[in-house]
Symmetry: C2
Subunit: 349 residues, 2 copies
DNA sequence: CTGAAAGCGCTTACAG
DNA sequence: CTGAAAGCGCTTACAG
């Protein structure tokens, strides 16, 4: 074989181009483009020819060429802050990748630090380089004002996951944190607890405030006084939970149950309780939020709250893509949580 | 202002192009390209002019245009299988993103299932669409033969992280799993344990075999018989560890210590030990591998082994990029592990 | 229902 | 040391 016989198909890395498909199908590249994009006004017969040719050549449209030529990038950006506990983000990724895959989009990740003074220019660079069609902001990034203001100015669509505050024009998905926290608190009140400690989460996360408010509401409904001596600040990590737990357990009139605003902090409370020779749940009931792997792997397994995080993220992505495509945007999604009662709660002694 | 006065700069989404920069700097686009790519043979004065213009316009090269025009895509793909425990992958992502960021590359993720019959075509589609310059394969994907064979045929560079088997021509990074397991086993032998249970990890992961071999070696060195009745198969998740633990504890002559091949399985062992009323470590020592968050959050905190996963991933990425650029490829990296002794081990009663 | 032309923003290969 | 031309593989806007 001389090189003259080598078909042009192998020109670049052995990958077929739209021209190769057009030639094999005996149509113009525009028609191939129509078929690949499921555009209207192509006869079934032509469609079949093109599809067969594409299949025969293992043709996949070059993403870069589409982005450069078109007005859309077929990709969504997910900006995230590296958390203490990755399981929340794992579910976000799962849901986001699934929705992107189904809709023919790719998902581009951008790790960052929400307190970075350069956050806006980091994101600006990311957008400028990738031309993403929209951005997903998991907590706490949906509440970084400088960032969302920038996105708004540039008319870059974005979706907030579980933000403190809903933005007009933005897609918002959240779970019923306040309701879940009220139910959790009621669960403990129903068991007979009167003195309920509460450890707040990272104040930058909207869920922290909502969970706290659910706690206050449930106490009020039960006719109990809200006692600020039983409330501590945490940061959603094990260590801050442990320290807050120590502080609550050092009280003369300590709580018989502690509500930690997430599972990692609850694990910290259980850790120090046991260091002090307390039995959980007999001497102290402890609960968390999020149903992380830790929740079911520690002893006793944690009573906690489960959110459908993957589904929330999938809806955020699907809505964002819908908005870009000009479909009716679903701008708000509210998801129910599920109370999971395990072994870390019982009636007080 | 009439629209005629609007500079061309805002043509597409307000983002400056190479032409805008060239015009402002008073040079050709080729010179801008040289400066942006740190190519040689540009006078410092010209460099300064171009850099100033780029800065003034907030210019960022369009990734798609570079990929389409050039022979490289400036991106690396990371194909991963969704694990039971995400902390290993979190560290892989951290290291990979860091190395990519430093070298001006972007990292594209592709979730998949290693046992998917279509795995190869999933990756083929991913490569065809994105034109990634190379692929990172965390375990167990570096040992999926159909996949690595395909990448080899297509001459797509790849890096295996902690594979069972090193491939010629591929970049390999791994930690000293066998040594670490031998040290861990010796730690228990030194404490006075004679009957050591062992729970193997997922057989598709190379580390599983290496950790098992380290265990066998240490026993042999200590002049102890290797007893296959004390060995169980696990799958790296909590439940398989719990079941294997139950089985070992049901033995007439049970072990006084159990080595689980990762922390999740060790947590499972501790869980069932406690269900059976055993005290850890007094009645049973338990150890794991990986130093996940769970390891330090459960009670007692786990004696375990820590690997520098982020650094391994960063080296894999840097080597891959080096290979693409034609630098000397670092084809093999071996990293030391660290034994972390915590509260889950003590001398037998 | 289908196609020819122009152009997206860069890099490549070549010229000077 | 610098630049003009061609082209990467698609989509857009237009024509028929």
């Amino acid at each position: 074989m001389t090189s003259d016989e080598t078909p042009d198909i192998r020109k670049r890395g052995g990958l077929a181009t739209i021209t190769d498909v057009a030639r094999l199908a005996g149509v113009s590249i525009k028609t191939v483009s129509r078929v690949m994009n499921a555009a209207p006004n192509v006869t079934p017969a032509t469609q079949d020819k093109v599809k067969a040719a594409a299949l025969a050549l293992n043709y996949e449209p070059n993403h870069s060429a589409r982005v450069l030529a078109g007005s859309r990038s077929y990709s969504i950006g997910l900006v995230y802050e590296n958390p203490h506990e990755f399981s929340y983000l794992k579910h976000v990724l799962d849901g986001a990748f699934e929705a992107c895959g189904e809709l023919g989009y790719s998902l581009l990740l951008k790790p960052c630090r929400s307190e970075d003074a350069n956050l806006v220019s980091v994101v600006r660079q990311f957008v400028a380089q990738t031309r993403v069609d929209g951005i997903i902001l998991p907590p706490p990034l949906g509440d970084v004002d400088a960032l969302t203001r920038y996105l708004g100015e540039q008319a870059i669509p974005y979706a907030q996951i579980a933000p403190r505050e809903d933005h007009k024009g933005a897609i918002v998905v959240r779970s019923a944190d306040e309701v879940a926290s009220r139910q959790m608190t009621s669960h403990l009140l129903d068991l007979g607890h009167k003195r309920l400690g509460f450890i707040k989460g990272d104040h930058r996360h909207g869920a922290s405030e909502l969970r706290f408010e659910g706690y206050v509401q449930a106490l009020r409904e039960a006719g109990l006084d809200y006692d600020e001596n039983l409330v501590r600040e945490g940061r959603f990590d094990f260590n801050s939970g442990a320290r807050a737990g120590e502080s609550l357990l050092a009280l003369a009139q300590g709580p018989s149950a502690i509500i930690a605003s997430n599972d990692d902090m609850a694990a910290g409370v259980i850790f120090v309780a046991r260091q002090q020779g307390l039995q959980v749940p007999e001497d102290l009931s402890v609960v968390g939020f999020d149903d992380t792997p830790t929740a079911s792997h520690i002893w006793p397994p944690l009573t906690t709250v489960k959110q459908p995080i993957s589904e929330m993220a999938a809806l955020a992505v699907a809505s964002l893509i819908g908005q870009v495509r000009g479909d009716e945007p679903m701008t708000h999604g509210l998801f129910d949580c599920e109370l999971i009662v395990r072994g870390s709660t019982c009636a007080p002694r």
